[in-house]
């Protein structure tokens, strides 16, 4: 079982699902017993979704029209 510092190291690869099975078990064993790391992991997961949402700006309508006008085939 790893400690909090090791668990912190595993955070990104854990959420990216690139850890080996053994490493996943190691992280999860720690997370089962440590509410601090559990909250930190959950925060990271939420943050990723929030970043995606916050940074996704819809394309301006005029731009869409300008792009369509760039077509050569018409």
């Amino acid at each position: 079982m790893c400690d909090c510092a090791e668990c912190e190291q595993l955070l990104q690869p854990y959420l990216d699902r690139v850890l080996t099975e053994a490493e996943v078990l190691e992280a999860e064993e720690h997370l089962d017993h440590c509410s601090y790391c559990r909250r930190a992991y959950r925060f990271e997961e939420e943050l990723r979704m929030y970043v995606r949402r916050a940074a996704s700006e819809p394309m301006p309508l005029e731009l869409k029209q300008k792009l369509a006008q760039l077509r050569i085939s018409l």
Binding site: V51, R71, I72
Partner: protein, 193 residues
């Protein structure tokens, strides 16, 4: 040598015209996704719009270089990235990213220090504004930001990002890893100071 008859020529031209229409339509359907990435590869909305227009102008001109059946979204982003570099982005200096980086729990710790425990039910937007995310993202050096924008915002795979940015997959992963840490450090500074 087979002789080309006017008939087959006409057929070829018709087929090319059809292919071209289809290519343009498929490319335009991806415009939202292309814009979403472009928006954070440059500083302003105006720059992003210019860059997307240049990308489509070039894509429509050189459509025959695209191999049907391959990844059109990645192909368009490759053009966009190259145009962006041509616009002189390489003149930008990347600050020493070491000093920008902190551990993966850093933001979490700083937010808890400032505003109390972040419970398992709490929503992130109660602690961080949408504007602060956009601001912090723009402060991440572009080498790192490009990878975050492609993978975490644009939903490109590591392999696609590697192809678009012309760097090895391992570099994509390490830049993503460090880039997210830099982003969180920026967020911590903005949110907590």
């Amino acid at each position: 040598m087979s002789e080309t008859t006017p008939e087959t020529d006409a057929r070829r031209i018709a087929r090319e015209a059809r292919d071209r229409v289809r290519f343009e339509e498929e490319a335009l359907e991806l415009a939202d996704q292309v814009y979403r990435v472009a928006r954070h590869m440059v500083k302003t909305r105006e720059e992003a719009e210019d860059l997307v227009q240049e990308t489509y102008a070039r894509a429509f001109r050189s459509w025959q270089q695209f191999r049907p059946g391959t990844n059109l979204r990645a192909w368009l982003l490759r053009i966009l990235t190259n145009l962006n570099i041509d616009r002189g982005r390489k003149l930008q200096r990347t600050p020493d990213s070491q000093s920008l980086e902190a551990g993966d729990y850093y933001l979490f710790e700083r937010l808890e220090d400032a505003g109390g425990e972040i419970t398992e039910e709490e929503r992130v937007d109660e602690r961080l504004s949408q504007d602060s995310i956009v601001e912090a993202l723009s402060a991440v050096p572009h080498d790192f930001r490009d990878v975050i924008v492609l993978v975490d915002i644009g939903d490109f795979s590591y392999a696609e990002a590697a192809q678009i940015l012309d760097i090895p997959v391992g570099t994509v992963m390490s830049r993503l890893h460090r880039g997210r840490r830099i982003l969180k450090k920026q967020l911590a500074e903005e949110a907590v100071g």
